[in-house]
Amino acid sequence: MLSFLTDFVQILFQTVRDVLPILTLIVFFQVVVLKQPIPNLRNVIIGGIYVVLGLTFFLLGLEKALFPIGEIMAAQLSAPSFVGANGATEFTWGHYYWIYIFAALIGFSTTIAEPSLIAVAMKANEVSAGTISQWGLRITVAIGVALALAVGTFRIVTGTPLHLYIMVGYIIVVIQTIFAPKKLIGLAYDSGGVTTSTVTVPLVAALGFGLSNAVPGRNPAIDGFGLIAFASLFPIIAVLAYVQITEWRTANLIKTRQ
């Protein structure tokens, strides 16, 4: 319990330092540039205290829960006793299939429940005048993130170079951009950013680090990263594809009716 307390005080001080720039910015622009008093000063002060306390609790909990969960799951699912349960001693990438399934499930479930994605899906439905369904888009993005994490863990297990995957992904995005309906491109690009939430990022990162530690011959400093990059890139591809397919289907529907 004492270690919790000393950690708490230490993180609290750092957090105050981290939140200071935003407060300075708002006070400076409100008072010096716009020359107006701060509205609802009491709320701003209480809100500021909440932000500092909340951030401190979150960071502490992250170190005690989210990071360990990710690392322990990776370690348990890639332990030789678990991977080689059916008598294998030499492991190829195929033996680590539980890791890929776990990563895909985490990706799918966290994305389906992600509040900012729900907001984006509502906007997309509005912009497209109803042709893009909210659930269709959410499931598409969730499948995109699930695939991203499965491929990402496969990459860590095999140790293949990250930039090759990303480069292929970029080429696909560029080709899709040429054909996609122009007004939805910005939305698709932004969907990459909204899927990776504050809770998911640390967990997924820890999963990657833990996996690169456990698989023989992998270096965490080089192989441990990349899961978050995949989780931001794949949804762009998924959304562009979804938008494209919806467009074709609507066009076909109109043609057959004529």
Binding site: L66, T110, V194, I228
Partner: protein, 240 residues
């Protein structure tokens, strides 16, 4: 009631993870989970912290940030608008929880691998430097995004240009930084940055004639994921 609703929305962030992990523990791994109580207490902290954090943002920061963004967009002074945009991107990124966590972890891993010194001051400087380079790049990304909106340049030209730059930097950056740099792009845009930047974008496209807030407001976040990759690779060139 409102308190319960906030608590529930923080819990729903964690529920999918808990379900998947518990399922795997019970049916696939079937082994005791180490330090289970510390993890449980930590999870409660995560929920509590996230709830307080978002409540605080909605009480104080978001309303004032949004009216400020709107007022500055209307004021018509390009200098103040762009300085505000930069400072907004910079300061929200410095306070971004996921980035704080990842920077610390990345510093630990680099120290374990012997890439940087193992001294606590060295690792915390490395983590802070990492966050500063991401914060500067997000600030610049927002400035570029605003200029794009004012000039009406097509979004995809800049994104494709950004991709080309990322690839060029990958060719010269040390291999130890590439993975982290790519991840930095996805980390930057979460809890604080997105709502405030979106408010700025929507406020701005409302004040410019012939701009649609729904289309132009989009795309600011996409820049904020691209530029950090380029800057963190630059940071790696400087360190290794």
């Amino acid at each position: 009631m409102i308190f319960l609703k906030k608590l529930w929305s923080a819990v729903t962030d964690l529920i999918p993870i808990i379900l998947v992990v518990v399922f795997f523990q019970l049916f696939v791994i079937q082994q005791p989970f180490p330090d289970i109580w510390e993890v449980v207490i930590g999870s409660i902290f995560v929920v509590l912290g996230l709830m307080l954090f978002i409540e605080g943002l909605e009480m104080g920061l978001f309303p004032i940030g949004e009216t400020l963004a709107y007022a500055l967009a209307k004021k018509g002074s390009l200098f103040w608008l762009l300085s505000f945009s930069f400072a907004l991107g910079f300061s929200t990124t410095i306070a971004e929880p996921a980035l704080i966590a990842i920077a610390k972890e990345a510093a630990r891993i680099s120290a374990d691998a012997g890439l940087i010194g193992n001294h606590p001051t060295t690792t915390s400087n490395y983590a802070l430097g990492l966050r500063l380079s991401v914060a500067v790049s997000v600030g610049l990304a927002i400035v570029i995004g605003i200029i794009r909106m004012l000039k009406g340049w097509p979004l995809y030209y800049l994104i494709i240009g950004g991709y080309v730059l990322v690839m060029l930097m990958t060719a010269i950056a040390p291999p130890e930084i590439i993975g982290l740099a790519y991840d930095a792009g996805g980390v930057t845009t979460s809890t604080i940055t997105v709502p405030l930047v979106a408010a700025l974008g929507v406020g701005l496209s409302n004040t410019i004639k012939g701009r649609n807030p729904l289309f132009d407001g989009f795309g600011l976040i996409a820049f904020a994921s691209l530029l950090p990759m380029i800057f963190v690779m630059g940071y790696g060139l400087f360190w290794f």
